[in-house]
């Protein structure tokens, strides 16, 4: 903590630059943009989980007065069946275009089939009802294990399981098989004193951002297109839309609105290409906003999964072997986060023998999208539960057991690389030393602990820094601010410049106003875009020093930048009054023109993060209701640039994990229709469900960043499920293996464990 004071601004809790806009309703989110003469676009969605689209007759809808355009899958050009770069993403464009608008088949209930643009919402709605779709309903499959079975309804007749040698000839819903190995798991189990084996499941959960998807497109007759949309990455939106609609990137300018939450779910396109296509056909701007129901039915939740864990340990607590199988639902198209799920599963631990197999499985559900540490929470739910079972069985404190097996510098992971400097041990020790863990568990309550790991990412960022005529500074970058990144970027720029934070104004620029920026995702912005901002600011400082050198007629090496002004590097240089930013700005025109700085980079070296969560809860044995009394999230956060927003990431991630653990799930009927597409029955935590969420920020600076930044947003969603499951196991003696641990499910499990009560 004392180290933090090295900085004047970094590590302080300043008001965010967009604060006033966001507390007064001024800030404009996706649905808040309008253009004169805009039309309302609406989507017709499949009522079937799986059906061949034999024909679509839009003639009546198109003839309805007020309808200006209708589009179907035929309006979107076919795309190659191969992975291609779109922006910086690798995607199968054949699948992306089909997810945006179905072609030959509807693959899930809610799949977009057609869309209309009309003068009013009511006309658009009526037009949808006039579109006649001739479906041939096919058998469907929802569950991941069912989808893997022989004889399951096949979603894609061309799909063969990748990663299997020899290549299979038969079509399968298993898109890919992955395998990781370290040592010899079978031999490892031979050395174990205890072996525990369990199967776990999770249900798909939605990111649950409060702001629905929204887009406003304006296509001009000359081919130029403007788009306003709520997204985690407007450059990604540009990339996808240009690919799907055969536009040049220079023809499409995308302006991001303020974004009302994303958590990974706003890194792909849904409405955007449709709004553009409708606008192109109608010759007018088209605005589209999803209803909450559409958000649930048609935008990506994360995978549900099935995980089998076998773990062996010696009496002293040494974990000697783990064998893990992970099967994740990808939704209707291949591409679940099964890779990271497999890799993260045992990443917290230094274990000699590890074998992990993963399956990427399609089924008749909406295509999954990223959600905070994609895939990791699912395998961690299983692995961390089993680690807790080992601790229980051996009567070892769960943090001590983890310390005994903790990954550290030099640990070779099961997926290949050897860890450099990491903070798992420090995080466990901080958890052990936390006021929460040191406190006694209240009578009637029980305590659970679990850990989590995420890689974090860097990737492409661009930034610019401009000095205004009065010496105030504008920082321009291209990442939508989803949780306070303007503040953290401005803090780093102010620190570099040595000027007041309030003199630095950070701006989120559109795709035409700054170079490429990868999505706001993977907790990369403060790290990677932060690095770009620091470099752009340093570039600008270099110029400021040059201007001072010119004015003083000295060599530029004789000028230093300190506390917001150019100073002679020593008395030998000569006696010069320091030149402030304001003074240098005032004379800029006479010393060489405007003073700007730029930087572009592919940031490498995002340091991995570890988290440990502690929960105290009680279970009402009569109802199966869990009440969380105390919760602490401990995490290795690198340097907390703005501690409040770092704490906020830990608290928000923990809350989402608590929802995942206790109540959130997609519920389907026998026909494959989603039964709970709303906030009433998709039960995200409300304020009265939660206690305060205490945080412990373990600051192990990341050497790859000038301020030691490490991504912090992913890790906190990983530990909550197993921490809660373990606390419940310790409270009741019943180990839950299926999420969510909803009251009916827990009650049934408790009753099954005590047959006498059930018989009553």
């Amino acid at each position: 903590m004392s180290e933090q004071r090295r900085y004047k601004w970094v590590g302080t809790r300043q008001n965010r630059p967009d604060g006033a806009d966001k507390v007064t309703g001024r800030a404009r989110f996706g649905a808040d943009f309008n253009l004169p003469g805009e039309l309302v676009g609406k989507v017709l969605r499949s009522p079937h989980a799986h059906a061949v689209i034999k024909s679509i007759d839009v003639s009546k809808a198109a003839a309805l007065p007020g309808v200006k355009a209708v589009v179907t899958g035929a309006d979107f050009p076919e795309q190659p069946d191969q992975l291609l770069p779109a922006g910086e993403m690798q995607v199968n464009l054949r699948d992306v275009t089909r997810n945006v608008m179905a072609k030959e088949k509807a693959l899930y209930e809610g799949h977009a089939i057609a869309a209309v643009a009309a003068t009013t919402a009511a006309v658009a709605q009526e037009a949808l009802s006039l579109i006649k779709v001739d479906y041939e309903v096919l058998p469907h499959v929802i569950d991941v294990q069912e989808a893997m079975k022989d004889g399951a309804p096949i979603l894609h007749p061309h799909m063969r399981t990748d990663g299997v040698k020899p290549a299979p000839e038969k079509a399968s819903n298993i898109a890919k098989r992955l395998e990781f190995n370290k040592g010899d798991a079978a031999a490892g189990f031979g050395k174990a004193d205890i072996v525990i084996e369990r199967e776990f499941t999770t249900q798909p959960v939605h990111q649950g951002y409060i702001e629905p998807h929204a887009a406003l497109a304006s296509a001009a007759e000359d081919g130029q297109v403007q788009l306003w949309t709520t997204t985690q990455g407007h450059f990604q939106v540009r990339g996808f839309c240009c690919r799907l609609l055969n536009l040049e990137t220079s023809q499409l300018r995308v302006t991001p609105s303020e974004i009302g939450g994303g958590f990974g779910g706003k890194t792909v396109v849904y409405l955007e290409p449709v709004a553009i296509r409708l606008s192109q056909k109608a010759g007018k701007p088209v605005k589209m906003v999803m209803s909450r129901e559409e958000v649930f039915r048609a935008s990506g939740p994360t995978s549900g999964g099935w995980v089998k864990v076998k773990m062996g340990a010696k009496k002293d607590g040494t974990i000697v072997a783990a064998d893990i199988t992970v099967a994740l639902q990808a939704g209707a198209f291949a591409g679940s986060p099964v890779g990271p799920s497999c890799m993260c599963s045992m990443a917290c631990y230094d274990v000699e023998n590890i074998h992990v197999v993963g399956y990427d499985v399609v089924s008749n559900r909406p295509k999954v999208a990223a959600y905070r540490a994609p895939g990791a929470p699912i395998s961690a739910w299983a692995v961390e539960s089993v680690v807790d079972m080992v601790a229980q069985e051996l009567n070892i404190d769960p943090i001590d057991l983890r310390l005994k097996n903790a990954a550290k510098q030099g640990t070779k992971t099961h997926y290949g690389p050897t860890f450099g400097v990491i903070g798992m041990v420090e995080t466990l020790e901080a958890a052990k030393a936390s006021p929460h863990y040191k406190s006694k568990v209240k009578p009637g309550y029980a305590r659970g602990v679990a850990a989590g790991f995420w890689f974090n990412v860097g990737a492409d960022s661009s930034a610019a820094a401009h000095v205004g005529e009065d010496g105030s500074v504008t920082i321009i970058s291209g990442n939508p601010d989803i949780g306070g990144s303007r503040a953290s970027l401005a803090l780093m720029a102010a620190e570099e410049l040595g000027i007041d934070y309030k003199k630095v104004r950070p701006i989120v620029a559109d795709t035409a106003s700054i170079g490429f920026n990868f999505v706001t995702g993977g907790s990369r912005v403060t790290f990677a875009t932060g690095l770009a901002v620091v470099n752009a600011t340093r570039d600008m400082i270099g110029q400021l020093k040059q201007r001072a050198a010119k004015l003083w007629e000295v060599d530029v090496d004789a000028v230093v930048w300190e506390d917001g002004e150019a100073r002679p590097s020593s008395t030998n240089v000569g006696k010069f009054e320091p030149l402030s930013l304001a003074k240098l700005a005032a004379s800029a025109s006479r010393t060489g023109g405007p003073i700007n700085g730029h930087a572009q980079l592919n940031a490498q070296g995002a340091g991995p993060g570890f988290g440990v969560h502690i929960v105290d809860l009680k279970v009402d044995p009569d109802t199966g209701i869990c009440t969380i009394d105390r919760y602490t999230a401990v995490q290795d956060v690198g340097t907390a640039i703005h501690p409040s927003y770092v704490e906020g990431q830990l608290q928000g991630g923990a809350a989402q994990g608590i929802g995942w653990a206790l109540n959130e799930e997609y519920i389907y009927d026998a026909k494959g229709r989603l039964l709970n597409p709303g906030f009433l029955d998709y039960r995200m935590p409300v304020a009265s469900d939660l206690p305060m969420i205490e945080t412990v920020l373990v600051e192990v600076p990341n050497p790859a960043h000038p301020y030691g930044v490490r991504g912090v947003g992913e890790v906190p969603i990983i530990p909550p499920m197993a921490a809660i499951g373990s606390a419940i196991a310790r409270a009741t003696g019943v180990r839950m293996v299926d999420l969510p641990i909803s009251p009916p499910r827990l009650s049934a499990a408790l009753d099954a464990a005590t047959p006498r009560m059930a018989a009553e």
Binding site: N181, G262, A370, P374, F419, V457, A459, E714
Partner: protein
């Protein structure tokens, strides 16, 4: 010689099951070329949808990055994030 590491299934599919291979190369691209020369089946599979970990540091897209004599270079599935 850098130590190149492939995941188990990737190695089984394309590299005769070899997960650790000592190879000459001063950049990631040189290592990829050397790998492809030894395992022709690998061609085209190392420059697309893959992350590269050089001495414990994850690179989302790496091609020209320099690697040291004793570097460990692992090719792993790509990593996104929320």
């Amino acid at each position: 010689m850098a130590r190149v590491i492939l995941t188990y299934s990737f190695a089984k599919q394309f590299a005769d099951g070899q997960t650790e291979i000592e190879l000459p190369g001063r950049t990631v691209r040189q290592l990829i070329r050397a790998l492809e020369a030894r395992f022709p089946a690998l061609e085209g599979h190392l420059e697309g949808d893959i992350a590269v970990v050089i001495d414990g540091v994850v690179h989302q897209n790496a091609l020209l990055e320099e690697v040291a004599e004793d570097s460990e270079v692992a090719f792993i599935p790509p990593i996104g994030g929320g």
